[in-house]
């Protein structure tokens, strides 16, 4: 049985203990008290009930619309170059907001973030902005390279929802591949697998390797 002042002390820590955010030492104190004090254990169940319902209440609040992301990108675009770095093209803002809007929440949470991050890590496939020689502003490399025509061998790829940015980046690096377009509907990216036009068999072989990679949910040769 815990003494009264000790119990008050411990009782004040119960919400954090229930949420798993208590330091190790305090957590050990609470655990010990709960094991020997039935009334405290009963009160802890009340805390757990509150915790569960607070989560349910918050989860029921839904999520903001894609409007919030679009508004943010508009504001960033309107910022002077000094604040965050280089200016961005409007087309990138539009593409990114479409990207966000087009994904399901689950996809958004995992593959969307991971693939986007992989693109970031790939040192500027999409984030790299080129200054126009004529000073007419900025354009994204991805927009320029998204056209289906061009030298090289390509595949259409959808990354696995469970793939991390590190997985995707490693795959791209190991394969010496580059994301040159996308995502289109369904989260499909266009990936350049080789700088030259490979034979059909060789392309199929590489695509099969991609299909076997855990970071890939779908892969198919593309023109």
């Amino acid at each position: 049985m815990t003494n009264t002042s000790g119990r008050e002390d411990i009782e004040q820590m119960l919400p954090w203990f229930a949420a798993g955010t208590l330091g190790r030492k305090d957590a050990a104190r609470v655990e010990k008290a709960l094991a020997s004090d039935r009334e405290l254990a009963r009160r802890f169940e009340l805390v757990r009930e509150e915790l569960g319902e607070t989560i349910r209440l918050n989860e029921s609040l839904g999520a903001p619309s894609a409007r919030a992301m679009a508004a943010l990108l508009r504001k960033i675009d309107a910022e002077s170059p000094a604040a965050g770095g280089q200016p961005v093209s409007v087309s990138l803002a539009t593409r990114v907001s479409q990207f966000i809007a087009g994904l399901s929440p689950r996809t958004l949470a995992w593959s969307g973030a991971a693939a986007a991050l992989a693109i970031v890590l790939q040192a500027g496939v999409i984030t790299g902005v080129l200054l126009s020689d004529r000073g007419q502003g900025y354009r994204t490399v991805s927009v320029e390279q998204a056209a289906p025509a061009g030298e090289g061998s390509f595949a259409l790829v959808r990354f696995s929802p469970a793939a991390s940015a590190a997985d995707i980046t490693k795959l791209l690096e190991d394969s010496k591949a580059t994301i040159v377009g996308g995502p289109s509907a369904g989260g499909i990216y266009r990936v350049k697998l080789a700088a030259t036009a490979l034979s059909r068999e060789e392309l199929a072989r590489i695509v099969r390797q991609w299909q076997d990679n855990k970071a890939v949910g779908f892969a198919a040769p593309a023109q």
Binding site: E50, I55, A162
Partner: protein, 186 residues
């Protein structure tokens, strides 16, 4: 699953990397939105505010020193924005608006119990708490903030965090009692 840390994303954002900004937004915007929505109780205002929150991140990323978790920093910015927005409207007005959405539990408690199960009443009572009490309960239970982090976000001493949480829970118990649910505490 390995993911790039928030801190790395902030470094990239400080360098002007917009896709890092997008990743950070994708990772945190729903929770930030819900935190703001629980304070301002207006979806449209909450949406406007989260873009303001992340715009501040864009502007201030270079000054982030990593003394707190990025999520704690985001919530602190969001709180400041929400409270600033609330200053434009009397909170009593907001509470009156919100009160219309809460079921009147002056009915016979037994009747109320028949209509709603305990967990639903508990959620109603959570929604009926004052802003201060809603805030601390959300920060601890939903946003998983430690005593230290809540102190940083709200700007109060750690001991006050514990007592405020205790009184928020006590008020919740009173609301539940008024709704016909006696929990034997406090």
């Amino acid at each position: 699953m390995q993911t790039t840390s928030d801190e790395v994303l902030i470094e990239r954002i400080a360098g002007g990397d917009r896709l890092a900004m997008q990743v950070l937004f994708a990772r945190h915007h729903v929770k930030v939105y819900r935190f703001v929505l629980r304070l301002v109780r207006n979806e449209s205002t909450a949406e406007d505010l989260i873009s303001e929150v992340f715009l501040d991140v864009w502007r201030q990323a270079g000054r982030f020193e990593g003394r707190s978790a990025v999520s704690t920093w985001l919530i602190a910015i969001a709180r400041f924005k929400a409270l600033s927005a609330l200053r434009g409207r009397k909170e009593t007005e907001l509470d009156e608006e919100f009160a219309q959405t809460i079921e009147d539990h002056s009915d016979d408690p037994e009747v109320s119990m028949q209509k709603k199960d305990t967990s639903e009443i508990l959620r109603k009572c959570l929604g009926a708490l004052s802003r201060e009490h809603r805030e601390i309960i959300d920060l601890v239970y939903y946003h998983e903030k430690s005593v230290e982090e809540v102190a940083q976000i709200v700007g109060i001493p750690e001991n006050t965090v514990k007592t405020r949480m205790f009184y928020a829970r006590k008020k919740l118990a009173e609301e539940l009692k008024a709704a016909g649910i006696e929990r034997g505490w406090p």
